[in-house]
C-alpha cells in the first residue's frame, strides 16, 4: 500500500510541473507586451527596457519560467497590478472563503443527493426513480449563475430576507446568523450540480448493489429490509464518497460564476476581477493554486478509493 501511495504521489509531480508551465504561458496568450501593464502610461522605450530587465522579461522563455517557478515555490507570486498588493496575500485570503463555500455546498449536496439517490436506486425503474432522475438532470442542466440571480430576486428583493452579496464584515463566525445568512443563497446555488451528479452516482451504485447476489441471500435469510438496505448502502458508499471528493475539487475551481453573481469574496471572484482588469499576476497565481488543489483532491480521492477497493489501483 505504501509503495502505491508513493508511486501515485510521484506521478502527480510531472502533472503539477505541466500545470505550472501552462499557467506561466498564460501571460503570453495575452495580446500585447506583458510589460505594458506594469508601467506608468507615458514610460519611454528606455524605461520599458529597464523594467523588462528588472522583471527578467528580456531573458529567454525557459529562463524566465525557471525564475518564476523558483519564486512561486517559495510562495512569491509577484504583486497585483491593479492593487499593488502581493498576489499570495490576495489568493490565500480568498481561498479560505472558497473552501468554505465549496465544502459546504458539497456537504449539502451530499446529504440531499444521497437520500434521493438511495430512494431511486431502491426503486430502480419505478416512478420514484424517474422523478429523482428528472431532478438530477435538472440539477446538472440549470445554469447556476442564472439560478443565483433568480434566488436573489426571490429571497433578497421580494422577501427581503437574505443578503444578496458578499459575506458580511469579513470576520466569519459560523455561530452567528449575521454571518451564516450570507452563505445560504450561494450554497444552494453552488450545490445544484453536485446534487445532480451525486444523486446519479448513488442511484446507480445502490441499484447495482441491490441486484447483487448477497442482497438476495440476505433477503432470503429473512433479514429485515432496513438492514438489507444498510448493508447495501455500506457497499454503495465508497464510489459516492469518491465522486463527492471530485466534486469538491471541481467546485473549488468552478465557482467563478456563482461567486461573481454573489460577489462572494473567494478565489473565483478574485479571478473574475483579475480578468476584467487584465491583472495577469493575479490571474496566473490564482489559476495555478486552484489547479494544484484540483490535482491534490483528485489524488486524495484516488488513494481513498484504492484503499477501500484495491482492485481499482492504477498502474
Amino acid at each position: 500500500m505504501f509503495g502505491y501511495i508513493l508511486r501515485r504521489l510521484l506521478s502527480a509531480v510531472p502533472i503539477a510541473f505541466g500545470v505550472s508551465v501552462v499557467c506561466f504561458l498564460l501571460v503570453y496568450l495575452a495580446p500585447g507586451d506583458p510589460v505594458q501593464t506594469l508601467l506608468p502610461p507615458d514610460a519611454d522605450a528606455e524605461t520599458v527596457a529597464q523594467v523588462k530587465r528588472m522583471y527578467g522579461l528580456d531573458q529567454p522563455l525557459p529562463v524566465q519560467y525557471l525564475t518564476w517557478l523558483g519564486r512561486v515555490m517559495v510562495g512569491d507570486f509577484g504583486r497585483s497590478i491593479a492593487t499593488g498588493r502581493p498576489v499570495a496575500d490576495e489568493i490565500f485570503r480568498s481561498l479560505g472563503n472558497t473552501v468554505l463555500l465549496a465544502g459546504l455546498s458539497v456537504l449539502v449536496a451530499f446529504s440531499i443527493a444521497f437520500v434521493l439517490g438511495t430512494i431511486a436506486g431502491r426503486h430502480a425503474g419505478g416512478w420514484l426513480d424517474r422523478v429523482v432522475t428528472g431532478v438530477a438532470v435538472v440539477g446538472v442542466s440549470v445554469p447556476n449563475y442564472w439560478l443565483g440571480i433568480v434566488l436573489v430576486i426571490i429571497f433578497s428583493v421580494e422577501m427581503m430576507a437574505l443578503p444578496a452579496s458578499g459575506m458580511g464584515d469579513g470576520r466569519f463566525d459560523p455561530t452567528s446568523w449575521e454571518h451564516v445568512q450570507y452563505l445560504i443563497l450561494p450554497v444552494i446555488t453552488l450545490s445544484m450540480i453536485p446534487v445532480g451528479i451525486i444523486a446519479r452516482t448513488t442511484r446507480s451504485a445502490v441499484s447495482e448493489v441491490m441486484n447483487q447476489e448477497f442482497v438476495t441471500t440476505l433477503r432470503a435469510n429473512g433479514l429485515p429490509e432496513w438492514r438489507v438496505l444498510r448493508h447495501a448502502l455500506k457497499n454503495a458508499l465508497p464510489p459516492v464518497l469518491a465522486v463527492m471528493g471530485l466534486q469538491f475539487g471541481t467546485l473549488m475551481g468552478g465557482s467563478i460564476l456563482v461567486e461573481t453573481v454573489f460577489s462572494w469574496p473567494g478565489s473565483g471572484f478574485l479571478l473574475s476581477k483579475a480578468i476584467l482588469t487584465r491583472d495577469i499576476p493575479v490571474l496566473q497565481g490564482t489559476i495555478l493554486v486552484l489547479a494544484l488543489i484540483f490535482v491534490f483532491t483528485n489524488l486524495t480521492v484516488d488513494l481513498f478509493q484504492s484503499s477501500v477497493d484495491p482492485r481499482i489501483r492504477r498502474a
Binding site: 436573489v152 427581503m160 444578496a164
Partner: protein, 528 residues
C-alpha cells in the same frame, strides 16, 4: 462669533445625540459604491471621483475644500487646510496660502507649512524618499501648471505656477495632505501607508478587508467642529453590479447605494426607500480622437452629434438625466449660447457622405461600470445603434473602469485604433470642465486632452481666461470657450446625470450638494 456658533452647534449635536434612545449603540452607515474595488487609501484615491467622494475627502483634507453644505446651487470651493489665499500683487504667477492653525493628523502630529511642501514632493519630486509614482500619476492632471511651492513661514506657503492661472486654487482641491510622520513610520512604503493611513479628515481609518470593505470611524477631534460625523462608523463596500446594489439595499445589507439603475427606482420607492436626485456638474460624452481616424474631420464629429436622439436616451434612463447637447449643463454660469445639435439622422448621413466616410467605421473605448458612468452598457448600446442608423459602424471596446481611465491618461498616441473614449467627466470648475480637454498644452499623456485637439484660437482664449483674475471679466471669456467647443464639436455629447442615490428610510440628515462630492458627516442613522 463664528466660533461660538460652531460651539453651540456642537453642543446641540451632543444634546441631540443624548436624547436619542440608542445613543449607546454604535451607529453605522453602510454605503455601496459603484467602484469595483476599495479606492486607494494612500492619499489621492483611485476609482475616479467616487474615490475622492468616499475615501479622499473623508480620510484627508486638501488645502482647498468644496462647500457641500447646501443643495440649491452648484457647489464651489471653500477654505480647507488653507484659511485663505490670494495672488501676490507683485507677481501674478505666485499664490500665497495661509494655513489653518491647530490642525492635527490622526496620528497626533501637527499640520504645518513644511508638511505641504513634503506632500508636494511626494507628488512631484522624483528622488525624495516619499516620492510615490502612483500618487504622481494621480496628481499630474492637476499639477500641469504647478512649478514650485515654498515655505514662507510655519503657517504660510507660496505656490508658483508656470503660467498665470486664475483657476489654480481649484486644482489644489484634489491634492490630499497625508501625514509625513506616519509615512516615515512605515518607511515611506506607500502600500504599508495605505494599510495604516493617517490624514486630517473627519474620519479615521479603522480597518480594511482588501477588495471587500473599508471601515472608517468618526474623528472626534476634527478641526471643523460643525463637520464632526454624526454617526460612529462609515462602512464602504465596492459593488460594481447595479442590480446587486439594489438587492443589497432592499435586503437591508446596506443603508445607501450609489446610482441605482433607473429601472429599479419605482421598485425602491415602493419599499419606502428614499431616492434623491439633483443636477450636478457632470458630462457623459465621448472625447474624440482628432488625429487618427474619421473624427479628425469636423463633419464626421458634427454628423455623430446630429445622429443622437437624446430624448430617447433620457427616456431610457427613466428621466434621471438631462439631455446633453454641450459640455456643461445649462445651469452653469458660463454656459453661453452653444450650437444645439438636434437629432437629425438625415443631416448626419449627408455630412458623412460629404466627408466621404460611409459607412463610417469607428471604435469607442467604454467601461462596464465606474464613477459617474451611469448605465454604461445600455447607454453605449443605444448610442451605437443610433449612430449606426445614421451611417456609422461602431465597435465598442469594453474594459474595466480603471483600465479605461488608464487608456484615457495615456492618450491617443498609444491607442490609435480608438476613435473615442467614454469617460464621463466632472465639470465643476472651468479648468476641469473645459480647458483641460481642449488646451494644446494639456495633450495626453500630460493632461486630459486625450485626442490632441489643437486650435490656436482656442489656446488664445484659454490664456486670456487664465490671466484674467477678475471673475466678472472672466465669465464671458469662459462662455466663448464653451461656445467654441460646441462649434468645433469636440465631443460627442450624450447626457448629464441627475445623480440618483437611494437610501434606507433610517438614513436622515443628508443634503445632496450639486457636486460630485458629498458631505456624509451630518447623516444620522436610526436604530433598526
Amino acid at each position: 462669533m463664528k466660533q461660538r456658533l460652531a460651539l453651540l452647534g456642537a453642543a446641540l449635536a451632543i444634546v441631540a445625540n443624548l436624547s436619542t434612545p440608542s445613543a449607546r449603540a454604535e451607529t453605522v452607515l453602510r454605503v455601496a459604491m459603484t467602484a469595483g474595488d476599495i479606492p486607494l487609501t494612500a492619499g489621492i484615491p483611485d476609482q475616479g471621483f467616487e474615490g475622492w467622494r468616499f475615501v479622499g475627502y473623508n480620510l484627508y483634507d486638501s488645502l482647498v475644500l468644496w462647500d457641500l453644505s447646501r443643495g440649491d446651487r452648484i457647489a464651489d470651493i471653500k477654505p480647507g487646510l488653507a484659511t485663505g489665499w490670494s495672488v501676490d500683487p507683485a507677481n501674478n504667477r505666485r499664490w500665497i496660502f495661509q494655513l489653518r492653525q491647530d490642525v492635527k493628523f490622526h496620528d497626533g502630529s501637527p499640520f504645518t507649512a513644511q508638511d505641504v511642501v513634503w506632500n508636494f514632493e511626494r507628488f512631484t519630486k522624483e528622488g525624495t524618499p516619499q516620492f510615490n509614482p502612483r500618487q504622481f500619476a494621480f496628481a499630474r492632471g492637476y499639477l500641469t501648471n504647478f512649478e514650485s511651492v515654498e515655505v514662507v513661514d510655519a503657517h504660510t506657503v507660496a505656490f508658483t505656477t508656470k503660467q498665470p492661472d486664475s483657476l489654480f486654487p481649484y486644482n489644489l482641491s484634489f491634492l490630499m495632505m497625508v501625514s509625513p510622520r506616519r509615512s516615515a513610520e512605515v518607511g515611506n512604503d506607500a502600500d504599508a501607508f495605505a494599510r495604516n493611513p493617517s490624514g486630517t479628515g473627519p474620519y479615521r481609518f479603522a480597518r480594511m478587508v482588501p477588495g471587500e470593505r473599508l471601515e472608517l470611524v468618526r474623528n472626534a477631534d476634527y478641526w471643523d467642529k460643525a463637520r464632526i460625523p454624526r454617526h460612529d462608523r462609515l462602512v464602504l463596500l465596492p459593488m460594481p453590479e447595479a442590480s446587486t446594489r439594489v438587492a443589497s439595499l432592499l435586503s437591508g445589507q446596506v443603508d445607501w447605494i450609489e446610482a441605482p439603475p433607473p429601472d429599479a427606482i419605482p421598485r425602491l420607492r415602493s419599499s419606502r426607500m428614499q431616492i434623491v436626485t439633483n443636477p450636478y456638474p457632470h458630462n457623459w460624452a465621448y472625447q474624440l480622437n482628432f488625429v487618427d481616424g474619421p473624427f479628425a474631420d469636423i463633419r464626421v464629429r458634427r454628423a455623430a452629434n446630429h445622429a443622437l436622439n437624446r430624448a430617447d436616451m433620457k427616456e431610457m434612463l427613466g428621466g434621471v438625466a438631462l439631455e446633453g447637447y454641450a459640455t456643461l449643463p445649462p445651469s452653469t454660469a458660463y454656459y453661453g449660447n452653444p450650437v444645439r445639435y438636434e437629432y437629425d439622422p438625415a443631416k448626419a448621413r449627408a455630412l458623412l457622405q460629404e466627408a466621404g466616410c460611409m459607412p463610417c467605421q469607428i471604435t469607442f473605448a467604454i467601461s462596464t461600470s465606474g464613477s459617474g458612468q451611469m448605465q454604461p452598457m445600455p447607454m453605449n448600446e443605444l448610442v451605437k445603434s443610433q449612430l449606426e442608423a445614421a451611417g456609422f459602424r461602431v465597435n465598442l471596446q469594453v474594459m474595466d473602469w480603471n483600465a479605461l481611465l488608464q487608456l484615457g491618461r495615456e492618450g491617443r498616441e498609444r491607442h490609435q485604433g480608438v476613435n473615442g473614449i467614454n469617460i464621463s467627466r466632472a465639470t465643476q470648475d472651468p479648468f476641469n470642465g473645459m480647458l483641460r480637454f481642449v488646451a494644446s498644452s494639456q495633450a495626453a499623456p500630460r493632461g486630459s486632452n486625450w485626442g490632441h485637439y489643437n486650435s490656436p484660437e482656442m489656446d488664445a482664449l484659454i490664456n486670456e481666461a487664465l490671466s484674467t483674475f477678475d471673475e466678472e471679466r472672466r465669465l464671458p471669456i469662459l462662455a466663448r470657450i464653451h461656445e467654441k467647443m460646441s462649434e468645433d464639436a469636440v465631443m460627442l455629447w450624450v447626457a448629464h446625470d441627475l445623480n440618483p442615490r437611494a437610501m434606507s428610510p433610517r438614513v436622515r440628515g443628508f443634503v445632496q450638494a450639486q457636486s460630485w462630492f458629498q458631505d456624509l458627516t451630518p447623516i444620522t442613522v436610526e436604530a433598526r
